[in-house]
């Protein structure tokens, strides 16, 4: 598990599949080899009125950690992350009376997964309740666990693949945690940040 940077890739006036194809071509030309597919999904639950102040629970899965289920509890004042095993999904079903799934908000990012050197690149097509919303590109540098050490290196790699759309600063979630050891829940936080923005945008987010 190394440091992962997640960023949106502008589709401009292309379709989603055409954008994925473009990026696949670019990265294959650099020597990347496809190693299967990946999927990150997110379901959001809100607390019922008689449970007191409103709280939100986001439940996410990442195919990279297939035996885990991640959840982030948002109380409005703070967020509490939790990594549990797959049974947590069943627990959420049991808590149906207190936490109900928000309608039409199931978000997903899925697509091909590539390996190139020590990097792992995932090209994700994002849908919110089956509607195409945009493209998310995930780049993981696996040998390093401290974001502050390898951010510049990852940025250089991303610029090689994604060109000028790469931000000059780390994602806001990571920016405050640059010297901490990176863990899978940090990837989940980054996905949630993007999913939340995708849900807010009415059409495609380009």
């Amino acid at each position: 598990m190394g440091v992962t940077i997640l960023q949106q890739f502008p589709i401009e006036n292309r379709t989603g599949p055409a954008t994925i194809e473009l990026l696949t071509k670019r990265i294959s030309a650099l020597g990347a080899v496809q190693q299967g597919h990946f999927l990150v999904d997110c379901e959001t639950y809100s607390s019922v009125a008689n449970l007191g102040p409103p709280r939100t629970v986001h439940v996410l899965h990442n195919s990279e950690q297939p035996a885990s289920c991640f959840s982030i509890l948002d109380t409005g004042t703070k967020t509490i992350p939790l990594a549990a095993d797959g049974l947590f999904d069943l627990l959420m079903l049991k808590m149906n009376y207190f936490y109900q799934a928000k309608k039409q908000t199931k978000a997903e990012s899925k697509g091909p997964r590539f390996e190139i050197g020590d990097f792992c690149v995932k090209l994700g097509t994002v849908t919110v309740s089956q509607n195409f919303k945009g493209i998310l590109v995930e780049v993981e540098y696996r040998p390093c666990v401290v974001p502050g050490m390898c951010w510049e290196l990852i940025r250089e790699f991303m610029q090689g693949v994604l060109g000028s759309s790469v931000q000059s600063n780390p994602p806001p979630y990571l920016a405050t945690r640059m010297q901490e050891n990176y863990t899978p829940i940090d990837t989940i936080h980054q996905y949630l940040e993007h999913f939340t923005m995708f849900r807010k945008s009415p059409g495609m987010r380009t």
Binding site: M1, L30, G31, I116, G117, D118, F119, Y141, R142, P143, C144, V145, V146, G148, M149, C150, E152, L153, E156, F157, G160, N181
Partner: protein
């Protein structure tokens, strides 16, 4: 024909030298034997060794003498009249030409290689033997490098541990002559280092998440490269006469990998080359370079 005779003499004296060196080593490795008896067996053994070594010394002198008598071949060999063998018509002699060409190629290659080897050996003296026999003043007994008391090694390891604050050393088998230690370099990487006495014998570099096993290499390309480079540096810093300094110099060099992911290459200014960070550190300046840029 005297040329050939001299060559034969040189080859013969070389053979004698090798054989006597073999005998000397055999005697050293066997140690005391039964036929040394009981009384003063150590002295007898030492005398025997001295005799063997002086024979070796004499043989070496013979070889050097014989070699200096040899004349350097002026240039590539010409085939002379033998080239007409290609026009041979008799069936059973036709194969001679092929053999001739093969041995010609062979001698030609030997010429090339020995010329190269001669140049390299002339500029890099391979004389690693500690030569202070002549000056009686510095007749200090040289500390053995591979057979030292465990405390000495333990001291060396604690010394290194104190030297670099961001290198944490855990010794899995302390207080034994050949310890294996794990050196963690801040949060960048860890190295498993095997000692043979005061000498570093083996190094494997891995990610912190990987096992401490000395025999499996890292699954990451970057650490495989760094492992290779550590082996090169290990040989470079190796010094049988100053083993402690060798280990310290190596650790000093190794310490410069704390910027493995965060420093760009000194030559090209980039972080990545073929998807790898600068995995080489200059042995003197410790500056980071890509393997292709050094």
């Amino acid at each position: 024909m005297t040329d050939l005779e001299q060559l034969q003499t040189a080859l013969h004296s070389l053979k004698v030298l090798r054989s006597n060196v073999g005998i000397a080593f055999e005697s050293v490795s066997n140690g005391l034997r039964a036929d040394h008896g009981e009384d003063g067996k150590e002295n007898k053994f030492i005398l025997e060794l001295q005799e063997l070594l002086s024979t070796v010394n004499n043989n070496l002198r013979d070889v050097e003498g014989a070699v200096s008598n040899l004349s350097i071949p002026p240039g590539p060999f010409a085939l002379g009249n033998t080239i007409y063998l290609s026009q041979e018509v008799t069936q059973e002699r036709q194969s001679l030409y092929v053999q001739l060409v093969n041995s010609y190629k062979w001698t030609d290659k030997i010429r090339d290689y020995s010329a190269l080897a001669g140049n390299i050996l002339a500029s890099n003296s391979v004389n690693k033997t500690y030569k202070t026999f002549s000056t009686t003043k510095r007749r200090k007994t040289q500390t053995s490098t591979h057979n030292v008391p465990p405390e000495v090694i333990e001291n060396l390891i604690t010394g290194i541990d104190r030297l670099f604050p961001d290198v944490t050393i855990t010794a899995s088998r302390p207080f034994v002559p050949n310890p294996v230690i794990q050196a963690s370099l801040s949060r960048v990487l860890k190295a498993v280092i095997a000692f043979k006495g005061l000498m570093i014998e083996w190094v494997v570099v891995k990610a912190h998440s990987e096992s401490n096993d000395l025999w499996t290499e890292s699954r990451y390309k970057v650490f495989k490269k760094v492992t290779e480079n550590c082996h090169a540096a290990m040989c470079h810093f190796h010094s049988p006469t100053m083993p402690e300094l060798a280990v310290k110099s190596f650790m000093h060099w190794f310490h410069s990998y704390n910027t493995l992911f965060s420093n760009p290459c000194k030559r090209c200014g980039n972080y990545l080359y073929s998807n790898l960070p600068p995995t080489w550190r200059d042995l003197r300046t410790l500056e980071p370079y890509h393997e292709e840029c050094k």
